[in-house]
Symmetry: C2
Subunit: 273 residues, 2 copies
């Protein structure tokens, strides 16, 4: 397997020193080249692309094969506009030809149980929300790998959780179904190219044998510097990482309304016991 | 792009009729060929494989780039044995040369906040557990794609949530860190090959424009038949899907102890507000 591009890929991904002796092939090169695409050409997806994405998503592992997820494919202009409003006006939600909404779906098993007059009391537990959220995320990530292999790009929209009830009303979601995140999909606009965003040094997230709770300040500072350089190159505010990240969790109001998520889920039928 | 193997891949994945005009390339073929591997050769991973998996994982999207996940790589025999006990004796947890434990990690941001005497009150909300769980799942799935591209195989172990406190003690996890699932990784044993497991018909999980709450009984029955055929081929109990799935959520006791997850998370420092 060729090492072509490995050093450059690692430098882009880590913005600094990186483990340069990693195993390498074309698939891994593709994964490391991931970038968040927020600028799309208006062209529609090629025929068979949506179906390929969903087949890839269904090929991801599912907890006990319960398949507690669904996805809604949104292409209608007015619907995309409404989703964009929930996401505080993010323009790419309208611009992307396709918006997938990935759902943690406990309603399907509930409906099968009702049809057969069998109890499904286990669905009312926080554990089952976790199962649905994990299932949906694994599925979505396989779809992302598939779409990037076709030359398409995408961005996840966690901001749909700013107002899950508005999303549920728009998409006709039954109780016990949560829109975990949206997913804008389309052809990247070559006029507005995206870049690979640096991540934390690998030693910060990879623990060997046991979790190392000591926070290595040196690596965090180095990563702040790498992110500041990245932001400068992208003409973004040069805020680094740690300060901006702390701002996102400073107070309940920093969560853009998502501090209401538990109450909303309870209203939407999730037991969360 | 070649259509070689597309029909066979779709037939294996859906066990029946399938959308046969999906977009196709080598990456999508690889994703559709996923199979859960529970039988491993004892051989260790190749050099640089773990680091490649983690680099791929870090290349997955992360909510607001908060990177609220970590992973522990477990290779020690005694530690794997203890993890296997938590997972009700699943033998592959001991047999696999590497067990990754994927963590929703809110402790890192908490620690940075403490170091800088800045509040992190937003961490105490259910929303942030969701962020950590989604981040960890997206990362893990990229690792799965990477490891399969190297010829390795794997299986996720949700059963670590049977006893998160035992896992936390074993791995030294600080408060506000949850082991979302384990992940056995190794070389598939060719003597005990795994098969592609059929999934629900695509129309059952893919909704166009709006969620369709009507449960199509025909497709569920067809899928039960496909799963029964799969189980027969694998010499597994021929129980189909829907009945077995309902059994997993019948009563709180069906959750293998995971009905205690909320109480455990609260004890482990998660606010869950």
């Amino acid at each position: 397997m060729s090492g072509t591009g490995r050093e450059e890929a690692l430098r882009a991904r880590y913005g600094a020193e990186a483990p340069l002796d990693i195993a390498w092939n074309e698939v891994i090169a593709g994964l490391l080249a991931h970038r968040t695409v927020r600028a799309f050409r208006p062209d529609p997806l090629p025929a068979g692309a949506l179906e390929a994405l969903v087949a890839a998503a269904q090929s991801a592992p599912s907890s006990s094969n319960l398949q507690t997820w669904s996805v809604v494919a949104v292409e209608d202009e007015a619907a995309k506009r409404r989703l964009s409003e929930v996401a505080r006006g993010q323009r790419h939600v309208v611009e992307a030809p396709l918006v997938l909404v990935w759902l943690a779906d406990l309603s399907r098993l509930g409906a099968i149980g009702r049809d057969r007059a069998q109890p499904t009391d286990g669905l009312a537990y926080l554990e089952m929300l976790m199962v649905g959220v994990v299932d949906a995320a694994l599925a979505a990530q396989n779809a992302t790998v598939a779409l990037e292999s076709l030359g398409l790009g995408s961005v996840y929209i966690g901001a749909l959780r700013n107002d899950p009830e508005a999303v549920a009303e728009l998409l006709g979601l039954p109780p016990n179904v949560l829109a975990v995140f949206g997913h804008c999909v389309g052809w990247p606009d070559p006029q507005r190219p995206a870049a690979v965003k640096p991540r934390l040094p690998q030693d910060v997230v990879l623990h060997r044998g046991r979790y190392d709770p000591s926070l290595a300040q040196g690596p965090i500072a180095a990563y702040d510097a790498a992110m500041t350089a990245f932001q400068a190159g992208q003409r973004m505010p040069e805020v680094g990482w740690s300060g901006a990240a702390l701002e996102r969790v400073r107070v309940p109001g920093s969560l853009s309304g998502r501090d209401r998520l538990r109450a909303i889920l309870e209203r939407r039928g999730f037991g969360l016991k």
